[in-house]
């Protein structure tokens, strides 16, 4: 689409800076978007893509830098201001109301009305017109949104953008939730938009998509633009990947102390594990004292895999064995008793009782093991949690404060600490008279032997990460098996002993971490071209 080169520039960002407490998320970013082009934004997690699109959408106001929109210097105070100026953003989590009709969703927030009365017929008619323009006149405008598939919802999101007279539409990983044939349809709509002179900023991790739909590419790394306006079709994969890698943030990884001998019997054996539509025929092992990292993007099935091993989801096929014991599918309680622990991806919604105090969060999985005859031992729990907080260097000290007052890194330590308690070693003195209960308790408390960590450093600032890495490595040195998932390739490579690469629900590659480099893994994660022999 060389025609795009002659199109006027609609948006020009230069020197955009945005800092958050402790993080410089954007550090002098440039971006130039022409009318009618598909401009792709590429970058690893944490490179600043999300912050940049939020600046465009008027959610964040930049601290410095200039933003020229259709030749005029602008700052958007609110998302509404950006929409009004003609910039619409379609986020990954589509902001549609499932219970409203297609037409009502298209005009959500700017309903057509006369004197406060909604003009339904007119809205339906106009929604139809917009959908026709997108080549989807067949979508039923009176149908309730929740009954439509993901792909149709995306079309409605775009129709809403069009109804706002958008001149620039930002799409954040629009293909992440779509099946393969639906992506083709998405591209048709995008081409329809660009043929009308509308500019599209397209964010995706899939290089093949960028080649198919994109015109030019801007690459972000560490909040800076490491390359601008590369031609999307002719720049080699190697070149693109190189510009995304070699991040300057200093990750301090602890040394791998002792290589895990390969004759040690595996602690965790996963064979042929499958869950329909999420992952397929996954097999691997984790040995005690070993950290195994899974590299993969969101949507590759990595979190689902972890939760299935843990028993939070039922598997369709395959087997999970921990130290030879088969873990029945979908039984968390059993898995925990066998010595499995999970630190889930969404700390706040999946792991913590935010209003409750630290010690009750630390002992959430073990309080019944501290108890005798159904009565809890709060003082034992507090002491154990206090010891744990010293070991993990929890800051601030103290186990009585609500966990919501802690920083992300310290909240994560609380979650880790939950699985590291060993109730069997507490208080032998004060219940010598209660030998039965005590021995039963000791028997039940086998302690955690395998930790599953899902994005352990999400939302944790750089300084606290080193701390967490040290803790995780320390656990492995004590003989724990660790299986961790992360979308940050350097983290997987730096921390893990062995790396599994996952893409679209399948394990593509397995190798020792020393034998891999960032570019290779990133390439596998994003395009899989090394295996498919597609060298560009």
């Amino acid at each position: 689409m060389t025609a795009a080169d002659e199109q006027p520039v609609v948006l020009r960002l230069s020197g955009i800076v945005k800092t958050f407490p402790g993080v410089r998320a954007l550090d002098g970013v440039q971006l130039e978007v022409r009318a009618g082009e598909v401009h792709c934004l590429l970058g690893q997690n944490g490179a600043g893509k999300s912050t940049l699109i939020k600046v465009l959408a008027g959610v964040h106001r930049p601290d410095a830098g200039s933003m020229l929109w259709q030749g005029e210097e602008v700052t958007f105070a609110t998302p509404q201001a950006a929409t009004k100026a003609g910039i619409s953003t379609i986020y990954q989590e589509l902001d549609l109301v499932d219970d409203l009709t297609v037409a009502e969703n298209v005009f959500l927030g700017h309903e057509q009305s006369t004197g406060g009365f909604v003009r339904r017929k007119q809205m339906r008619r106009e929604a139809q017109v917009v959908l026709d323009r997108l080549g989807h006149g067949d979508l039923p405008v009176a149908r309730v949104m929740g009954r439509l598939p993901a792909a149709a919802k995306q079309v409605v999101s775009m129709a809403r953008a069009l109804s706002h007279e958008a001149r620039l539409i930002v799409m954040d990983e629009p293909s992440a939730l779509l099946a393969h044939d639906e992506v083709a349809n998405l591209f048709r709509v995008v081409r329809e938009l660009t043929s009308r002179g509308i500019a599209v900023v397209y964010i995706s991790h899939r290089l093949d998509e960028i080649r198919e739909i994109g015109d030019r590419v801007t690459v972000l790394k560490d909040g800076r633009t490491s390359a601008v306006n590369l031609p999307a079709r002719t720049t080699s994969t190697k070149d693109l990947v190189n510009r995304m890698t070699g991040r300057t943030i200093e990750y301090v990884f602890p040394d791998r102390t002792k290589p895990v001998s390969s004759d040690v019997a595996p602690l965790l054996e996963v064979t042929g594990l499958s869950r329909h539509g999420e992952f397929d025929d996954v097999s691997f092992t984790v040995r005690p004292g070993e950290i195994v990292g899974i590299a993969g993007l969101g949507g590759s099935g990595r979190s689902e895999l972890l939760e299935t091993i843990y028993g939070a989801r039922a598997s369709d096929a395959g087997q999970v064995r921990l130290d030879g014991t088969i873990l029945p599918s979908g039984r968390i309680g059993f898995a925990v008793r066998c010595g499995l622990g999970l630190a889930p991806e969404e700390r706040k919604s999946q792991a913590l009782l935010l209003d409750d105090c630290v010690y009750r969060n630390v002992t959430l999985a073990t309080f019944s093991r501290y108890a005798s005859r159904g009565l809890t031992h709060a003082s034992d729990e507090r002491e154990a949690a206090l010891r744990m907080s010293e070991v993990l260097a929890l800051h601030p000290r103290g186990v009585m404060r609500p966990v919501k007052t802690l920083s992300g890194g310290n909240q994560q330590k609380v979650v880790l600490g939950r699985w590291l308690l060993d109730p069997s070693e507490s208080d032998d003195a004060d219940d010598a008279d209660d030998a039965v209960a005590s021995s039963r308790r000791r028997h039940a408390a086998s302690g955690t032997r395998l930790l599953l960590l899902d994005e352990p450093t999400r939302g944790v600032d750089v300084g606290a990460r080193a701390d967490l890495y040290r803790v995780i490595r320390g656990l492995a040195d004590d003989g724990l098996g660790v299986l961790m998932v992360s979308s940050e390739v350097p983290e997987v490579l730096g921390l893990a002993d062995r790396v599994l690469v996952m893409r679209e629900g399948r394990l593509l590659h397995e190798a020792a971490a020393q034998d891999l480099d960032e570019a290779t893994v990133l390439d596998l994660v994003m395009a899989g071209s090394l295996l498919e022999g597609d060298q560009l």
């Binding site: 209003d355 709060a378 000290r397």
Partner: protein, 354 residues
């Protein structure tokens, strides 16, 4: 693992409240998050004192006369006892982020079932056991439908409320079933050291419930489920089993209250327990149980019931019409929740500023 847990053994003396510093002054205690429920309950005690002051002002002949005051307060406590027992069960339900609308109807059903002519001939023991069993089994049905049928607690207990009231009417034929067993009526008339049995039953249930909520694994599970259901599940807590037990407990409380009400009225009736669900929910809410679950105290709910009945009592001793009493109760509920939100709001503001 040992390498990780050995450290800091000698540091144990560094206080468990560490980070807050020593709690030397009252002021610090007031700023501490952990004391929040206690402060709220002190607030309710203050409300009770204000209600007493109003009583002393409007009816000095009762409220400033030791003997009459004692009699009057025993009346209040007796009045509070059956609703109080139900409010305690309700507290567990609301802490687990549920709701039980069927309590009033379950009370009626249990009261009718335990006072049929057929049951009465077996004597007091069988009557009491029948009431408790009817309550517990109906609670079990609620719990199973909610936990395993994955239905909303509001809907399940709404259906139970209607159906149980209907069943109670069917069994009794809408007549009042007079109790001829003297031991039952004695429950309402006997006293121990001058205190009515009904009040003692309420106190015993409250004490047991306090232990259950604060000192047992069941109480911890209840609070965990209400605080974050998904986190509780992923920590290996059997969420569904606990949920069933919570509704069984609520039903059991209805059975206990049914015996108390039947004894007081000297009869079983399908009209017993009318609007008890609203009073019990209101008492728990006034007592500081958070409607979205996770937090709440037994002491708060007991105080909530007392505030409610004290208002009723004030209106009665002043010969005011019942409609004013209802209006006042509505105002109190709104005021309690507003104060609660205001407190949470100031707490947040304080935290966001360094």
């Amino acid at each position: 693992m040992t390498g990780l847990t050995d450290v800091a053994m000698e540091n144990e003396s560094s206080s468990l409240q560490g980070g807050h510093g020593p709690r030397s002054s009252l002021q610090q205690w007031f700023r501490d998050d952990a004391s929040e429920p206690v402060r709220r309950n002190l607030g309710l005690v203050a409300v009770l004192l204000v209600l007493y002051a109003i009583g002393a002002w409007s009816r000095p002949d009762i409220f400033l006369h030791a003997e009459r005051l004692w009699t009057n307060e025993l009346t209040v406590l007796t009045l509070a006892s059956s609703v109080g027992v139900i409010a305690i069960g309700m507290t567990f339900v609301i802490i687990s982020a549920g709701i039980d609308l069927s309590v009033g109807a379950l009370l009626a059903l249990a009261s009718v079932w335990c006072s049929t002519v057929a049951t009465q001939q077996y004597g007091v023991g069988v009557m009491v056991v029948t009431a408790l069993l009817v309550g517990a089994i109906a609670g079990l049905v609620n719990g199973v439908l909610i936990a395993y049928g994955r239905m909303a607690p509001f809907i399940v207990t709404l259906a139970m409320m209607v159906a149980a009231r209907g069943l109670a009417q069917k069994i009794s034929g809408k007549t009042t079933q007079v109790v001829k067993v003297e031991d039952i009526t004695n429950i309402a008339q006997n006293t121990l050291l001058g205190i009515p049995w009904l009040v003692l039953i309420f106190a015993a249930v409250a004490a047991l419930a306090w232990v259950l909520l604060n000192r047992t694994t069941f109480g911890r599970r209840t609070a965990a489920i209400g605080g974050n259901r998904e986190a509780a599940r992923l920590a290996g807590i059997s969420v569904r089993r606990t949920e069933v037990l919570i509704y069984v407990l609520s039903g059991l409380c209805c059975g206990i209250a049914a015996v108390m009400v039947t004894a007081q009225a000297n009869a079983g009736s399908s009209d017993h327990g009318n609007l008890y669900e609203l009073q019990a929910i209101a008492a728990a809410i006034i007592g500081g149980t958070v409607f979205t679950g996770g937090r709440g105290t037994i002491v708060g709910s007991v105080l909530g019931v007392l505030v409610f009945t004290s208002i009723t009592n004030l209106f009665i001793v002043n010969n005011l019409a019942i409609e004013y009493q209802l209006i006042a109760q509505g105002v109190i509920i709104v005021a309690a929740v507003l104060i609660q939100q205001f407190r949470v709001g100031t707490l947040r503001r304080r935290k966001s500023s360094p």
